[in-house]
Symmetry: C2
């Protein structure tokens, strides 16, 4: 899922996302709550209409940003008090409020409000974080079920009921992960995410947590790993049974000139590409590789041209989506 | 002509420029000479191939930027010594060198190297500037004619011979403008530009200089006014007989949130558009107006999303190109 933090997959017009055949994008509850505000988006008919994106949207719970963007957050049983990274103003997110915001946005897949455990965290800390995440998951579910039909648009679009996914936490402790997964499954969500990964732990550990947690989540419901990863990682996780992933890497790296290709990572700023007339990835058929050379893309980013972000992002997203298409075909054949 | 300063019409992918049906774009000799360098572009087969733009390209002579971006320039009969605005390095442009650079770029329409007279300039200053511009026009023409077939690509693309246009200077003195026009016409260029406008003079004066200069330029050859203007100005000048214009206004203003519409200028940052569900211009059929609302465009620029520049620029260019299409149809009917 391409990440569309603030109602835009950075630098890419929606019709080009459609041309890439992105099936679903992610919106960030925390960012949209702060700007332009979920009530404004609800008044305008929801996020799909606001940003002109008719395909599905998954929203995160805001939990990850509340924790990662706030030094001064204050966590209580009821929720989290935090300060806006934009203007320092005070805000409070509870499980119920996170649901209210996600419902106002018109999300198709909402996420339970969780406490994303930092890395490293000792067992006591991970245990505490797990317990509060489970209590918040129940409160999220109760509020969501009671209000999920309050979608921001009229009846004509209300044929699809949104879903709420639970999130497995538990730090890097396999038994806590297992316990969290089992207790979430008892609550019976229509899909499950593995959260609290890609928070600084070594890659081998990420893989291990995913491998050990997946068997405890039902294979006939979507299993979503949040915030991963490099192209080879997402291919590997998909082969292990992961159905959904999101990551800012293809879009953020693109803006810094890092391209993902069939030949590995290409730092397009490198002087060695100055006269390179090959496409960014000779094996890629995307609209960027079909038309432009490495020399041109290097020039654009060197000259700080805004087109650099547009073209680099288009290529990286195409490469990620192609990677997933290939894995999907592989799985179908096996 | 959309302005593509550094081998990119800022923020717009080439296939969307084609979708807008832009017939020709402008490249800046000064910028391309400094970065990535005209020799690099020649080695890669010329500017068309470098930026993947198969339609015509007009290049300016570098003169305007040498004068406007350089406090420390030194003008002699032979040419202009100046410092790079990028790194302060010393460079020298003569008429011959400007031609060499434009030929290396593979320009379809090159411009004579001129001294753009500042505003205000007294009669002595304007006279001097005019005289040197005429001598440089002759040197430009001689060098261009001798070398114009040295195009950067192979014979397969060499079927079209590039053209060199002369530039009328003369400050705000009607008799000097007339004299310059007549002496350029004696040199027999395939097209003529009126330069040294939009340099700070009042709009009425711009109009007067154009009106008084045009009759001294042959109506059966392209007449080009450089560096203008607002949508109503370009429509007016076209009705007066101007065939070509270029301006950074639609692209630069777009990046600052200023949209040109059938209802006048719209500063899309304005709070009053926060919940405005109308398209940027209800009378416009461009891909932006067909899909997005003012509320969304306001959000994008407020949130400093890179997509803001892309969409605002697409709309402004569509509006400018539509303006010219309407005037062209009017003229055909009259």
């Amino acid at each position: 899922m391409p990440v569309g933090t603030a109602a835009s997959v950075k630098a890419v017009p929606q019709h080009l996302l459609e041309a890439l055949d992105a099936q679903i994008i992610l919106g960030n509850t925390y960012h949209l709550y702060l700007r332009p505000g979920h009530e404004l988006i609800r008044n305008l008919g929801g996020l799909h209409r606001f940003m002109s994106w008719p395909r599905p949207i998954l929203t995160d719970s805001g939990g990850f940003q509340v924790f990662s963007l706030n030094e001064l957050r204050k966590v209580t049983e009821n929720g989290v008090e935090f300060r806006s990274h934009l203007d320092g103003s005070s805000h409070f997110f509870s499980p119920e409020h996170s649901m209210e915001v996600q419902i106002a946005l018109g999300s198709d897949i909402a996420m339970a409000f969780d406490e994303c455990t930092e890395y490293p965290a000792d067992r006591t800390r991970a245990r505490h974080s797990l317990d509060i995440t489970l209590r918040w998951a129940m409160r999220s579910k109760q509020h969501f079920e009671a209000h999920k039909n309050e979608r921001p648009w009229g009846l004509e679009l209300a044929d699809q009921t949104p879903s709420l996914f639970g999130i497995v936490q538990g730090g890097m402790y396999l038994d806590l992960r297992r316990e969290c997964a089992e207790r979430l499954v008892e609550m019976d969500f229509p899909g499950y995410a593995i959260g609290g990964l890609s928070v600084g732990e070594p890659r081998e550990l990420t893989r291990e947590i995913i491998a050990e947690t997946l068997p405890h989540l039902p294979a006939d419901k979507p299993r979503y790993v949040m915030g991963v990863g490099y192209p080879d990682e997402i291919a590997e996780y998909a082969r292990m049974g992961v159905d959904m992933m999101d990551c800012v890497l293809p879009t953020r790296a693109a803006r810094h000139g890092l391209l993902f290709t069939s030949e590995g990572r290409v730092n397009i700023k490198n002087r060695k590409y100055a006269e390179d007339q090959n496409p960014p990835d000779p094996a890629c058929g995307c609209m960027v590789c079909a038309r432009y050379t490495r020399a041109y893309l290097r020039h654009l980013i060197t000259a700080q041209e805004p087109l650099a972000a547009v073209l680099n992002t288009l290529h990286n997203l195409a490469f990620y989506l192609d990677t997933m298409r290939r894995v999907r075909a592989e799985i179908e054949l096996s």
